[in-house]
Symmetry: C2
Subunit: 272 residues, 2 copies
């Protein structure tokens, strides 16, 4: 049994990129981390969702979310349909893994028309809702930091994710709050409050100043400038009591032995 203060802690598998799912599961068990957030490529690598689910369950861990669905915009109607089919497979995997949450990274525009891409995101999520309901999985719209607006997501603020969620108006759609993506936003606390009761995930890391790299420069909690305690308090005031995923894309951390990374996470997590 984990010490109570780690009860909500989850290792998002992106943090230990070099570990297979089995290695990450074993690492969590050794570190007393009760949750894991797997990635689809890592799930595929060990034989798919059923095998992964067994591996995780047998170790006594639970799945906080599956990363990731999304990437809705595409240049043609048929390509957009393929993206939706791919998202249906992701929903199948999430259900099989026993998690209620599929995280959506919504995708970039196929060209310069960012408004059209935003409509494609909305249409794509709308098209997925019936199947999400059928599989008992919820779609967590994750706004990404605007630095990713050109290549990963045209959904870049929590205000935008909230508005999208409100228009889609389904119990199967919510938002994910990742501190790295939203910390800079003058509206972040108002928007967290607006999302009350519909926050499906909370991801932590830190923002290094200056950032050493766009994609692989996230920091360990406590090493950067994000007001982590304040954001966590806001998310909790908005009713979120679920797992807290540590998701750190950072080459140096990837190059550090996994057990050492998990030890640092254990140490930093309670103070942040």
């Amino acid at each position: 049994v984990s010490p109570p203060d780690l009860a909500r802690l989850s290792l998002n598998q992106a943090t230990t990129q070099r570990w297979t799912l089995r290695e990450a599961v074993d690492g969590c068990v050794r570190a007393g981390i009760p949750w894991i957030g797997p990635w689809r490529d890592k799930v595929a690598e060990v034989g798919g969702a059923a095998a992964s689910a067994k591996l995780i369950r047998d170790a006594g861990l639970r799945v906080s979310s599956l990363c990731r669905g999304g990437f809705f915009p595409a240049a043609t109607e048929s390509a957009r349909r393929e993206r939706i089919d791919e998202n249906r497979r992701a929903l199948d995997e999430a259900a099989e893994l026993g998690t209620e949450v599929l995280v959506l990274v919504c995708g970039p525009a196929p060209d310069r028309d960012i408004d059209a891409a935003r409509r494609m995101v909305e249409d794509g999520i709308a098209a997925l809702i019936p199947y999400a309901a059928e599989r008992g999985v919820r779609l967590a719209i994750e706004p990404l930091h605007p630095v990713f607006a050109g290549d990963r997501s045209v959904i870049v603020t929590l205000a935008q994710a909230n508005a999208l969620m409100e228009r889609l108006d389904s119990p199967h759609v919510g938002v994910a709050v990742d501190v790295y993506h939203v910390w800079w936003d003058p509206e972040v606390y108002a928007q967290i409050a607006r999302a009350s009761g519909r926050i499906l995930g909370f991801h932590i890391s830190d923002w290094l100043a200056p950032p050493p790299d766009v994609l692989l420069g996230r920091g360990m909690m406590g090493d950067g400038v994000i007001q982590l305690q304040r954001l966590r308090a806001a998310v909790e005031a908005a009713g979120y009591t679920g797992p807290i995923e540590v998701e750190i894309f950072n080459q140096k951390i990837w190059d550090t032995p996994g057990d050492q990374v998990l030890a640092t996470i254990r140490e930093r997590y309670p103070e942040c």
Copy 2:
């Protein structure tokens, strides 16, 4: 005399980082670019504002703006006073250079308290207004891309800059719109309209996808994903008819001979 279609074109000196002010002025003359936006360090390098003003005037160029003032937040009251004094010197230089516009990069938080830093920015600009009025120079609040929130500016959206401008409520305070910093924002067109009549500068470049670097990865117009014509039309609909500065921080462009860079700018500018 420049061809009419270049009449509003300005070279922001950051684009040709390796050139001295004299070299940049000569380059503009050769390329038929009628405006220049100097940086304070480059002005100092050639002997200060009076010498720079003469050099620019003798070449028949005009100064679109001076980069940059700002950096208001600091850990102590006395350090904040020093920053304001430094901004007063920047206003003196802008006046001497014959430009009405000092661009403000507002500065990062000295610690994790981003709200406090935002108040320091507001207090700092408020403290500068009387001297700006005296010198006949206007303060252009430039929201920076949120990727710079940790190390360069706590003012990261045009909505925030507009709100600040509205609260300060002075004819000597406006905003600068740089496409690189604002293109991703779902609110950008509404906020450009909100800034009507108070836009003091328009800067162009492009957003490469994915960005090769945080600071030095800006693109030449046409090489990225920004809807440049649409943004320019919006800024013009909001009443801005002043110079259009090309400001590209990019190591590869810095490593390219300046005349070649200016030739590309001349070629790309009309279509964007």
